[in-house]
């Protein structure tokens, strides 16, 4: 049986990461709730993390995993600041969507 001989190669992981990134980009463009848009950014970051770890394995190098560590830290900081901004906006205007915030532009 052919399936028994196949093992997941880095190409499989990279294709999965590309698909996950595409789903995240679609959600970011389609959804209007700022919280769900943030979750879509997390999906895209995770797709990139998966490809970094996959490359780390392919090229036999630890630096890819170190980069993922830094991406995790920056993602945590980004979520904290982003949710702070969302809380500040939604407290003044309950039920605001991403389009309502376009009023801020001069």
């Amino acid at each position: 049986m052919m399936l028994a001989a196949t093992r997941p190669t880095e190409t499989w992981y990279l294709l999965l990461a590309a698909g996950l990134f595409g789903i995240g980009a679609t959600g970011l463009l389609v959804r209007r709730n700022p919280l769900v848009m943030f979750m879509c950014v997390e999906l895209m970051l995770n797709a990139v993390n998966l490809s970094f770890v996959s490359f780390s394995r392919t090229f036999d190098d630890i630096n890819g995993q170190t980069t993922v560590f830094f991406v995790l830290v920056v993602a945590a900081a980004e979520v904290v600041v982003g949710l702070g901004i969302i809380v500040a906006i939604l407290r003044r205007r309950p039920g605001a969507t991403a389009d309502d915030i376009a009023d801020l532009k001069g």
């Binding site: 190098d61 170190t66 809380v87």
Partner: protein, 189 residues
Amino acid sequence: MIETAVFVVASAMVLVGAFGVILRPNPVHAALSLVLTLFGIAVHFVALEAHFLAAVQVIVYAGAIVVLFLFVIMLLGVDKAEDLGTEPMMRQRYLGPLVGIGVAGLVGAAIIVSRSRTIVTSATGLDTEASAGHDANIKQLARSLFSDYVFAFELTSVLLVIAVVGTVLLARKPNKGLQAARHKAGVSS
């Protein structure tokens, strides 16, 4: 065979969770779908022998970040189902998936075209469980982090402090007493 089965199951978790995030109208359901995706990614990390990152993925992402999301959703009371039928920019509803499929297709095509290309690297070598003991991955990652990248590591602490202070400033309620005192003193704020 077992690797293929693990890959298929974890990929199904990732994709089902990702579609759940973008298709569920209720933000709470979207956040719970995100947990499914993050666990799938963690399984992939284990399969790729990045054990420390798999643990961090579960603790930081599925633990802290998703809990933060759910906390904000509950705090603001926006856990009502969003009406996905109304769309102020109808063109974007159709162009969004087109852009997503286009990006994924282009990257996928590039991956498939270049998959047999060999790239010469100055690889340092990855310690495995077989070659360097059961904590090989975490030891090697720590050595890389605290020698080659120690300056960047210290800078992340500055970043986190700035993020925390900035968020406290952004999200706190306006200080009523301070405003009244300023008003009384005739200082226009």
